[in-house]
Symmetry: none
Subunit: 418 residues, 2 copies
């Protein structure tokens, strides 16, 4: 079977619902598809449900499925992926929590679960903790700042378990909880002990932290506790090269978004952020396009280009910025299509999940997807709005089904059976 | 995320196949959709496979899936649900069997597995047994009459198991079987002992039952045994309020059908049967419509209206009665749509399974479904026959996928992932 290269271009948050501001059209319906009209008309199109219909995907779970790992049975919970999104490199066995910077009384009664939510000195506070916290029972602890009051906390050491309860009481006016082992084994008991020592250590360190003195001067509530929830133990995902059914030796992910980069690294991608690519709407997208073509020329099997901007515009509720970001992403797609040998490549353009600008968050609406491959049965659409996607011949693909389809068109997947 | 109310209206057995009597049209193709044409034209439509394509759903398994519980991995077998359909309130741990009223010889050889099938005094026989049977080894036994010769038998007590074999030999001319433990534990041994004692006790009680004397007078075979099959141990389903990923506090199910009411109660619905609602084709459906609007106004999150009549007409093989019942169900839907704020509600209309009038039983044909939500991408159909459903943009949803979709449009379901 002839082996083709695979290029996947994601416009993060691509799909949408009708927008009142746009006369009940979707952003995609305002998009100028002319740069990719020829490529699309030579493609099959359809819908993709990253997890399954009716499940709202995270960026992490969607990317696992996009690259062939069923997230329903292979997801350690949000703790580890929050940490990855905040820049952590996790190893299998690490236990990570989501956490809140919070304000508590001297008796550890929660006064504000979010310490005022706006915490300009959050990064410095976290750095202060990381410099001073040290090890606990031979376990290394790292705190990562995400956004506002949100942090992730990673525990790394032998014999840890994620079968421990939250310290976050999930309400105010009550004491911070002791973490309890949820399994009758030494790993759970040890982890709960370490977590409780962490809670105490954090309170001691922050009590004397000069950053809090300055907060109090301007009337802001002190940050003097970290509340933990959602323990998850990092799993190991098989790298592409370890997946016997696949023939993918070299894969590269071009992205500027920490969570996406983290997930891709776990799957065995080399991860690249070209200069000028920021993950925001000011990103130099053409640097990603040029990088993709460069890796194609260097003989990479799978080249993934992730463009965040359309999702950022959606979270901001800005349909015009979304139209603009999609059009800029299509120029990336067009540049790549113009600079590869179309007889030698499978190209897919899609979203990783739908983020309607009217909702400003991920929804379970299936995402439009186009698949170009030499000799594929085409639908002949020269646009890819939600409507063409719903009429497309790919139908409604779920989870890992899309990845398998791409791998098959590229001649890179084993037969199941004789 | 804005939270909307959810209203689900089921016409039981809705879908169909072409009917020779109707010139190879389906009942839905004869239905006047005008009362709901506007609502449908603002909806997305498609097909739903309650379990998965190729599996014939029961009303119980279909309703579990409709409300987000995967029945394939969470179904204790038909025994418990037959009992629920016959009016039993089951508790987790109860073991229930399907049973037949049967005729046996003095040596317990099966003469008629159905005791003539038509048993006018079945209800009295069952009452007689329940009054006299007493406890067996501390286990309470209850017999419920379903239809004709069919009963369900519930064993309630500590330490029971469903790992026991049938007493029904599934053929005639052979002896009633001893139930055997199918697991090597005390619960299975104890349950088999109790079941065998039950068989004996029933034979003793029915031997002297005056009802049998009267049956024999008119030449009908005596009912002198109960044959048991399909042991199932009742499980506990999480209530809506216990499902952390959902935000559904108050849910009400409006139905007059025992099995549907039982399943809904297990899932945490308040269950209501308005006066005049019978579950038959003579049911006062508008009393259900008024009740639905009343619960909407009282702030319920999820309102379920179940209308049995179309299924009853299908089991009778009467396509005209089915058309009529569907039209009456659409008036319920129309009344609800006219009396709620359409900016505040997700409305779904569908069947719980297909019951073709030519088959007179449930089939695996997918059911038509319509989903209205503010801002949903619409298909613009003003009718919902099998044909529009097959062309609809929802595609073909399976099992719990529909529930997740409704919950997502209502802004009531957590994201899976970060």
């Amino acid at each position: 079977m002839r082996r083709l290269k695979i290029v996947v271009v994601v416009a993060d948050g691509l799909g949408d619902r009708p927008v009142p501001e746009l006369g009940m059209r979707t952003p995609l319906e305002l998009v100028d598809f002319s740069p990719v009209a020829d490529l699309l008309s030579r493609s099959a199109v359809g819908l993709w449900d990253p997890i399954r219909p009716g499940v709202r995907p995270g960026s992490d779970t969607a990317h696992l499925a996009l690259f062939g790992v069923d997230p329903i049975n292979n997801y350690p919970g949000r703790g580890p992926f929050e940490a990855i999104g905040a820049g952590a490199s996790l190893r299998p066995g690490d236990v990570a929590f989501r956490g809140n910077l919070a304000t508590v009384s001297d008796e550890m009664v929660v006064i504000d679960r979010r310490a005022g939510r706006v915490i300009p000195e959050a990064k410095q506070l976290v750095e202060y903790l990381n410099q001073n916290i040290g090890e606990i029972e031979g376990v290394r602890v790292e705190v990562y700042h995400a956004t506002e009051h949100r942090v992730a906390v990673v525990f790394r050491g032998p014999g840890l378990s994620d079968a421990v309860s939250d310290t976050d009481p999930h309400s105010e006016g009550v004491r911070v909880l002791e973490s309890r082992p949820l399994a009758d084994d030494e790993a759970a008991r040890r982890t709960a002990r370490v977590v409780n020592a962490f809670t105490k250590r954090v309170a001691e360190l922050l009590r004397d932290c000069p950053l809090n003195a300055r907060r109090e001067e301007r009337g802001a509530p002190p940050v003097n506790a970290i509340l933990l929830r959602g323990a998850g133990k990092m799993v190991r995902y098989p790298r592409f090269s370890e997946r016997g059914e696949l023939d993918v030796a070299r894969a590269v992910a071009i992205s500027a978004t920490a969570l996406v980069k983290g997930v891709c690294a776990l799957l065995g991608f080399e991860v690249v952020t070209p200069e000028g690519a920021t993950g925001g709407i000011d990103s130099d997208l053409m640097s990603k396009a040029r990088a993709a073509v460069e890796f194609y020329r260097r003989g990479y099997d799978l080249i993934y280009v992730h463009v965040k901007g359309a999702d950022a515009a959606s979270h901001d509720g800005n349909p015009y910025a979304k139209v603009d970001m999609i059009e800029r992403t299509l120029r990336v797609l067009s540049y790549i299509a113009d600079n590869v040998d179309l007889e030698d490549v499978v190209i897919s353009f899609l979203g990783d999940h739908t983020t309607p600008v009217t909702v400003r968050d991920h929804t379970s609406d299936p995402v439009p997807v186009a698949v170009y491959a030499p000799g594929i049965l085409t639908d002949g659409f020269s646009r890819l709005t939600e409507k063409e996607a719903r009429r497309g011949s790919l139908g409604r693909l779920r989870s890992v089904e899309l990845f398998g389809t791409l791998m098959d068109y590229a001649g890179r997947i084993e037969k199941f059976g004789a």
